[in-house]
Subunit: 321 residues, 2 copies
């Protein structure tokens, strides 16, 4: 049996602890060829994130993947730095990554995405695990982008689950609702991997120990970075573990796990200055009838993954160098 | 063993099919003494609703309970009539109620509520199953009202469940978000009985047949009115049945069933003109830690009833004349 052609994926990220797990998964998965990485303000500044991405890719044996720094602040408003109590001083927990010899490319992330979309003529897929500023900028550069991209999978939003930066708002969307509105409004096929599934699928100490004990240098480094991230989650879950935000989007995008329930529904973004700012309003009223088809809907919203995530993540990450 | 002193309850409603079930329950329950009924625009106009309330109370053998018509439109905006495809031409499905000889009292609903609160000196409890316009008006008349009312239980809102008039907004709150913001902001102890529990607890054809077959004239009339309401719910559930919106609030207020899960949490109301207008934003971020205490919270949000509702409702309603 022939192997399937790997998916050509551009990753937009703000690494960030869980971003580095997503990056590692996309490098390691045999289902994926990672063809570019852009960074955006968020968990850490865009330039620091690009530095981290270069260093991680080097550790992971993929220093040939181009990295471009992107938006340094949201489309409306300012950026005041990342949550250091969650991701550490540099976005790598309490760990100092070995410095790679590689540097980001000259253009910005939006330009890299557009260039890759043109070069891959309809085959490029996009995974975003940070604010959607770069993607909205890419749409401004190339309005035909939605027809040039095969699929966009994003970590962000919350459909039926509470938010994590307000009662209803998830951080990636909340950090730039205006860009999110543009991206959700563009007519590409999308999958939203939000808090509904990323909070209920956790990475436990046993999984972290499996990474630590593996022969993979990158896997061990990821486990060390997770140590800090686990501390933050003690206040969320009442135990040391972590949510699987960004890696779950990478897994779903790669096809490593196909969500058991992900209806195609209309999603609106609240970009008011009201209390719901940044919410993903998901039209889930059809939940008692198996979610009948909705006119204009082009976004699947993952509501149930239906398979163990952490063991699969460990299996793939431990194949890294 | 002595019977407990019945709770003294004022009901604010817009009858409406499910309102009439709530009214019947509060009349019939031995745990309750219904001391007044106000009506508000919503399922039907406030004056038609007051007429219906008088007629229902007469059928239910409680024509001594005072009824006052209240707000005819929301605090901001206009009222364009009720949803006749849900509640019928008159708010009584396809049924014409026997006309009672009683008429509404002279004052409006907000005045009746304030008068009753003063007369019952701290013992009055409030149940609302319509828009919160009358309650906000009563707060304007008597700013001390939150300290004069023992508890307020409302049918309205949605915490983790989708809305029913928008992806996130429930009808009672959505019809007058400005009044809802005032009511939720007042420092009385409250319980929110929203779509999280009213949609998952249904009244099925077997329960309607039990009402029809009972010796209760009022019970039979309620079952006939429900016939029309069941038709509407076919599109919601894929079968003839009904949600138990208003009666569930009455049952919880009476103490007929104590919800299995109803954490005390902060609730904000979206009164912007944005896509989230009318949403009840519930601070449920503590869901993985058993909902630790929140400063300033004074509203319990029912998330799980944990007991069969419809059989209890049938048991009580069939004791009506």
């Amino acid at each position: 049996m022939d192997s399937p052609t790997p998916r050509q994926i551009y990753l937009d990220c703000d690494p960030g602890v869980d971003d580095s797990l997503a990056l590692g998964y996309l490098v390691a998965s045999p289902l994926v060829q990672l063809v570019g990485v852009g960074t955006v303000f968020g968990n850490c500044p865009a330039d620091a994130g690009a530095r981290n991405a270069c260093d991680w890719l080097s550790v992971m044996g993929a220093s040939d993947v181009p990295v471009a720094a992107g938006a340094r602040k949201p489309s409306h408003g300012e950026y005041h730095g990342g949550p250091k109590h969650i991701h550490g001083q540099r976005g790598t927990g309490a760990v100092q990554l070995p410095e790679s010899g590689t540097t980001p490319v000259a253009g910005n992330a939006a330009e890299l995405l557009v260039d890759l979309a043109r070069a891959h003529s309809g085959d490029l897929e996009v995974v975003t695990v940070g604010p959607l500023t770069n993607i909205a900028e890419a749409l401004a550069i190339e309005p035909e982008l939605p027809h040039m991209i095969k699929h966009l999978t994003l970590m962000g939003g919350a459909a039926l689950h509470p938010g994590n930066i307000s009662p209803v708002t998830e951080a990636n969307i909340g950090k730039d609702p205006e860009s999110a509105r543009i991206v959700f409004g563009a007519p590409w096929p999308m999958t939203m991997v939000g808090l509904d599934v990323t909070m209920s699928n956790t990475f436990e100490e046993e999984h972290r120990q499996a990474l630590l004990a593996s022969g993979s240098t990158a896997g061990r480094l990821l486990a060390e970075v997770l140590d800090f991230y686990f501390d933050f989650h003690l206040d969320v879950y009442g135990r040391r573990c972590s949510a699987l935000h960004d890696p779950l989007a990478a897994i779903v995008a790669a096809g490593g796990i196909v969500p058991a329930l992900a209806p195609m529904i209309n999603v609106d973004i609240d970009d008011t200055r009201g209390p719901g700012r940044g919410q993903t309003l998901c039209a889930l009223g059809g939940l008692y009838r198996g979610f009948p088809a909705q006119d204009g809907a082009h976004c699947r919203v993952a509501l149930d993954i239906g398979a163990p995530v952490a063991p699969h993540l460990v299996d793939v990450l431990t194949t890294l160098p």
